[in-house]
Symmetry: C5
């Protein structure tokens, strides 16, 4: 480890990526329907507003499947403080008074401001609005980091080759070392959850799989309009149509999911 | 790992299988009896309705035995979004405002849309309405996946041979790799819980048992009419008769448990 | 593992054994004293009623010692569904609306309905109403099950010999493989908790101790009339006399602890 | 293990030692001040009363430092049931309706009623009312118990020699094998928490340290009048003077901490 | 370990360092806005008051990022009891009746009062008011402590050299052996969270990294005026400006963060 680091100015900006999971207090369902509607509307309005100033802000429903969360937001932004400001704004909505956050993950694709160029070739995260997103925190066992560069590169090449055969699955992994409790946040868009099951089952026999310390909890979310995700909380809707008619802009226009 | 994968059209559909566990807030028991009755009835109606559009939807009671759950639903469906829609519909019932979900497991028998034919020979899940169902999440240690195919096949053959001798026990295991926190969800129908205890004690000495990473929590449920499972929540019934008179169809007809 | 199994009719019946732990919501203590008294009385009446139809149903207090439970019930019955029915009946009492169940353990002494005769020589559980009961869930490490029969027999013989020297301690271990999260539920009646401490400290150096995976949480309960266990929940009594005057029969007769 | 055990009458009595941790429901702080005062007074009166019949009963504050507990009681008594009776009596106070018990540890110094004389040389626990008490549950890895007696004695001798150099720190370790979830409860009186930090850091390199399985959570408590510990719960006092004026006797006399 | 220890008088005083994390009960957000404002103001007043008598007391917001905490206080003081007194004072504010403390860490830089001079060269903690603070509890595997002094020194030298290249990151690690559940509390001030991610990713391959037992949960906090951290709890502000105008003194003067 003899190479020297020096500060680099003007490097590419990169992104912070957040996955924030919400569960509603069951007692919220006992409120009058008008009160619930107003609470959901205010929450959705905040999401719409922030969707307009971030690179990406999508809602995914986990209702009826996960035990610990009802929906999650996938946020992509260049500016760390956007995550704090979105959190504060959601706290200010009436629904925020009934939500808990059982999980929240923070990753980044921001390059180093120091020279270590070889290490970071992470491109920008660019969602394609597939109907499902699978996301989980990931930690490798420490001995992985003491394999030679060649051994690790070979393992990751095999891993990537298997992944590439599952052409309907798109990888959006980000880095969390030192800024959250995992090392990576793998995230995958898919057409159908079972497709991803087969990819992961196939990868179990790949070399990289040997070095896994933790890769749970695993969340399968369905990409929906945030209003539908909220209406599923109290059964105001029992239909969760997909990405066809996503998001209402502040002016009321409904448009496909933001993908700036 | 040189074989190549290509997308297959028109493969058999397969199933998603969910186990969703519910616990009632003890405070619910303080509500007036009419309010409780209405809440249970609405919940049961949703179950009945969805039982009519899924391949299987059964209720199992764990009252008085498990510490963490009062009942669970076993859902079998070809369509993933059915699980979300059932969840949303249950959220819309008055009882849904008093329930928590301490556990929820998702598995599938859907075949790969890619060629890997050898790997998936999973048949369809077809319950036989035995009085008890034992279910648990299962994870193998990673080195298992690096044994040779022959070693693994021999271990699983021994495992299956032992299981086959316990003729009253039916296996309904499904796959969860990458879509939930376990790898498999073993599930077994049995005539009597103690029979399954003897099967598992016998299997402890089988080769496959060596490679277990996690196989808890273990749930023993009794197959009952969902109305009986709900009436056990507040002691409205203290009898839990078995599968003889299961489910009320939307038109009011009561019929044995659905087994399409 | 070549021996073949076939179903045996008419084997001895055996028992299901449950340990169900209760903790009261502290807010219950804020209710009017009459309401608390009525709730406790209804709970005790259910226990009395079921004590009359089970092989054994005893109450143990853990008040002031365990952090997670206030009392537990030790139930012994030939019929699994008795456990469910007792659970439903307790849910129907006013106190049931303020209780949580932090732990609940299920074991059995039922013999296999298949031939494997050598394996099961478990006798029936017959409590002797000693003042204290120590109970905990127990899991062995998997390699234990791959020792030779002789190695395991020798280890268990040494273990039993040490136990036998502590003549005031009675062992009531049951089997939980596949029907609960542990493999065994060791349970010991003792005259004094410290006696059992010395037994366990002595056993730490025995061969069998090497193969322990998990043996906690450990509960020390004092055998009391269920009414005393309940009165300790809100300080209605601060005395917890022992087994001298246990249980009120449905006809009002008070008699020593049931020991059928 | 050939020596034989026989019951000994008239052995020295010894002690049970309990550490019981309390956390107050934040909602309690919303009650009228008079109601809070009455609740604290009743709690303190129970502590005073039991301090008069036990060998030791001291209160320690962890306010502002631990996340999980606000205060704890250190109880020393010859009679196990004193712990239950104290628990029941505290349940009967108005404050008991707002307290939870996140942790509770049970140890003993009672000698064996069987002959194994070499094993137990544990003296009685005699607190010296130092300003701080550090306490934690402790479990050794099982292979420790299979070292030779000489190896273990040498390790413990080194351990004790290091401890002895920290002359301001007094050790009050008790035994929990089989009666609680740990094997030992080390407890240390100290003049200043940092002194104990240096002792533990020094011990990290001692042989005995190699054999540690678990030694957390670690609690640092400050010895205070129980009334001060309770007044810190709602900020009625923000001063926590030490042991100078401890405990009010049932007759109203205030006296230094009991040290019988 | 033959060197002898003797008490040293007049050693340098050193510091206790606390990190105390707070989460607000979502139900607090349902209170009238005036009540919330008064609660926040009282909490901030206590922080201001104690900031005037401690060496350091800063507020960091984790809103919108961590799942388990909304803000934390970083306290630096020579006197242990200051931590208790601050805790009691915050308990006395109306907001204290709605806060829980999911985590709280205690470290120290106090030197030993015994001679072991080589061991402690820890300087004083002197924050520089960088916009972000990353903090986490840290435990090494026990075998680390049995490496030779030279091996450990070499590993720590490499570790420090890598850290030194990230010139924008300042290390404030303190010691917790025996006084909290971790051994160290690493804490780092940084200009940007992603910078720290790159430092930690780089360190993964350093020798010291091999010996890590636990280094989570990891918190990234933004240094803000405590009033802004509190206003983010209910969305009273959705802006979280940094360290420019920190803290209001008891006399109402606003001044940059204390850094005595």
């Amino acid at each position: 480890m003899a190479e020297s680091y020096e500060r680099i100015e003007g490097v590419e900006v990169g992104q912070y990526v957040g996955y924030r999971f919400f569960a509603v207090d069951p007692a919220w369902r006992r409120l009058p329907v008008e009160e619930r509607m107003a609470g959901k509307e205010a929450f959705a309005d905040v999401v719409d507003e922030f969707a307009g100033r971030m690179e990406g802000l999508r809602a995914y429903s986990t209702v009826g499947v996960r035990p610990d969360a009802d929906l999650f937001l996938w946020t992509i932004t260049e500016r760390y403080d956007d995550l704090l400001e979105l959190g504060a704004a959601l706290n200010g909505t009436p629904l925020g008074a009934w939500l808990t956050v059982p999980h929240s993950y923070l990753g980044t694709t921001k390059p180093s401001v120091y020279t270590d160029k070889k290490r970071i070739r992470q491109g920008r995260i660019a969602p394609r609005n597939a109907p499902y997103l699978i996301v989980y925190p990931f930690v490798k066992v420490r001995p992985w980091y003491f394999l030679s560069f060649e051994e690790r590169a070979a393992a990751m090449r095999e891993h990537a080759e298997i992944g590439a055969r599952f052409v309907t699955i798109t990888n959006h992994t980000t880095y969390s070392f030192g800024i959250d409790d995992q090392e990576f946040i793998p995230a995958f868009e898919a057409e159908e959850p079972a497709d991803f099951m087969h990819l992961m089952m196939t990868l179990r026999e790949s070399e990289a799989s040997r070095w896994t310390e933790r890769d749970t909890p695993i969340f399968v979310g369905k990409l929906v309009d945030v209003r539908d995700a909220l209406d599923a909380l109290d059964g105001a809707t029992t239909e969760l149509p997909g990405a066809a008619s996503l998001y209402t802009a502040p002016d009321g226009t409904r448009y496909p999911a933001p993908s700036r």
